[in-house]
């Protein structure tokens, strides 16, 4: 469903994506992992068209997404930091996003699930980080799209909200959706991910299931397996 070939992106002198190739098939949860600054967000933003790659091709449903915009109607994105216009209220923001997308939305169910009713008329600038993240989740999951991209969705959530979020992701996965998720919380990965995509030095360093990764690194525990992959970055002459 997603096909990325020879993707290059530099920010000034810093090379973030260095000839990255990645194919993602339809259906399932794909965990995009990697050390800090390995280009996870940049990769996602290239797919969204927010970052413009220097070179390479990004295809979604066999069509190039570069300089296109209509394809975004068929994907939902949860940004890493929930930066919302501070002077809008929650309900105004939800209405606005609904108004901008020619699609039906089921926001009420989600508002109820995350207990956002009391905050609907509050200004976004006055909300706590966790509540903002819940609004972020509602905005992302209220539309029905083939692809859902979640950039650090667990930030600031309390344990109950985290359980609800995991349920939501599982539900969407069982509906045949493709979900890309970046996170540093390994329990989430272990519980949800069908496949792991590991980024290092702007390339895909590993792609496969959790079991394959454990076998390859000879580690029992996923956290240690990932740590071993990351530790290669700290050694000279790696890869």
């Amino acid at each position: 469903m997603i096909e990325i070939t020879q993707l290059y992106k530099k920010f000034g002198k810093l090379t973030v994506l260095d000839g990255l190739d990645l194919t993602i098939d339809k259906g399932g949860v794909f965990a995009v992992l990697g050390p800090n600054g390995s280009g996870k967000t940049t990769l996602i933003k290239c797919l969204l068209g927010m970052v413009i790659p220097n070179k390479g091709e990004v295809k979604y449903h066999d069509k190039s997404v570069l300089k296109q915009w209509k394809y975004r109607n068929n994907l939902n994105y949860l940004p890493q930091i929930a930066n919302f216009p501070a002077n809008l209220s929650v309900i105004e923001l939800i209405k606005m996003v609904k108004n901008l997308r020619p699609k039906t939305a089921n926001e009420n169910e989600l508002i109820e699930k995350f207990d956002l009713q009391p905050f609907l008329k509050k200004k976004l600038g006055n909300l706590s980080g966790g509540t903002k993240q819940k609004v972020n989740i509602v905005l992302t999951f209220m539309f029905n799209s083939d692809l859902i991209i979640l950039d650090e969705p667990t930030t600031g959530l309390d344990p109950i909200a985290l359980i609800y979020l995991k349920d939501l992701i599982k539900k969407e996965r069982d509906n045949g959706k493709t979900i890309l998720i970046t996170t540093h919380i390994m329990s989430v990965v272990e519980e949800l991910a069908n496949e792991i995509v590991f980024l290092l030095d702007g390339k895909i360093y590993f792609k496969g299931s959790v079991t394959t990764l454990k076998a390859q690194t000879k580690q029992e525990n996923l956290e240690h397996a990932i740590a071993q992959l990351i530790s290669k970055q700290y050694q000279p002459n790696h890869a």
């Binding site: 969204l48 915009w69 209509k70 216009p85 501070a86 997308r101």
Partner: protein, 260 residues
């Protein structure tokens, strides 16, 4: 684009600053009419204020709005909306709401004073058109600067610098050159350098319409010959229009290549 435009205007209307700006012009209009007790004289005073102030306010508002709505822009960028639509919608939103403040703020006192019965209605209309052009031009310049600078302080600094260059320094340099080369025929040079600066162009355009060009000496006569005709007026408005189009096109180009 209309949706983005609507949200931008709505956003600005809630921000209180558009009202402050509107009320400022309202008070200014009343005070000038009260002090001058004559529409023509009030227009001249107003001209001097509009020529300097609208570019300044446009510049500051443009930069401020861009930085303030960054979160909103990022939210929009992930939606199925074309990039150029987002940025043009925001640009037009800021420019239109500033122009509304100007037209209503100054228009109301003049209409109440009896503008429609006076012969100055055309001059006054031209003043508002020029003011609107200056808004659109300087908001576009400010947006370009803000897009090119991630750092707010730098962005503000450069924007104010551009205003300062066009509103003050340009005239100073022009004066020095005119004095240095006073033995040469300078009318063509003067005409062209007026055309290249939207603030000077606007000022000249209105001054000459107001029949006080005699004060400007020989060059004034040449100018009168040029700007006084409908062709001159047409060319001047065309130049002002180009001053809007080029920066607006640059906004599109810059925004299309930027990473968010």
């Amino acid at each position: 684009m209309l949706k983005i435009l609507k949200y931008s205007i709505y956003d600005l209307l809630r921000s209180r600053w558009s009202y402050v700006y509107f009320i400022f012009y309202l008070i200014l209009g009343f005070v000038l009419l009260f002090l001058n007790n004559d529409i023509n004289k009030a227009i001249i005073t107003l001209l001097n204020i509009i020529i300097v102030l609208t570019p300044l306010i446009g510049t500051i508002f443009g930069v401020m709005y861009y930085y303030n709505s960054k979160e909103f822009t990022e939210l929009l960028l992930a939606q199925p909306i074309k990039r150029s639509t987002i940025f043009m919608g925001q640009y037009l939103g800021v420019s239109i709401s500033l122009t509304l403040s100007l037209v209503l703020g100054i228009g109301i006192p003049f209409v109440l004073y009896g503008l429609f019965k006076s012969a100055a209605i055309f001059d006054f209309g031209l003043l508002l058109v020029v003011g609107a052009f200056l808004n659109f031009i300087f908001v576009a310049l400010a947006y370009n600067i803000a897009l090119a600078n991630e750092n707010k302080i730098k962005g503000f600094g450069y924007a104010i610098l551009v205003w300062l260059l066009l509103a003050v320094v340009y005239d100073g340099v022009f004066m020095i050159l005119a004095i240095k080369f006073q033995e040469y025929p300078l009318d063509k040079f003067a005409l062209i350098s007026m055309m290249l600066n939207p603030i000077d162009l606007s000022r000249t355009l209105i001054l000459l319409k107001l029949d006080i060009s005699a004060l400007l000496g020989y060059t004034g006569a040449v100018f009168k010959e040029f700007f006084g005709t409908s062709l001159g007026l047409f060319i001047s408005l065309f130049v002002l229009f180009t001053w809007v189009l080029i920066p607006a096109w640059l906004i599109n180009r810059k925004a299309g290549r930027k990473d968010f």
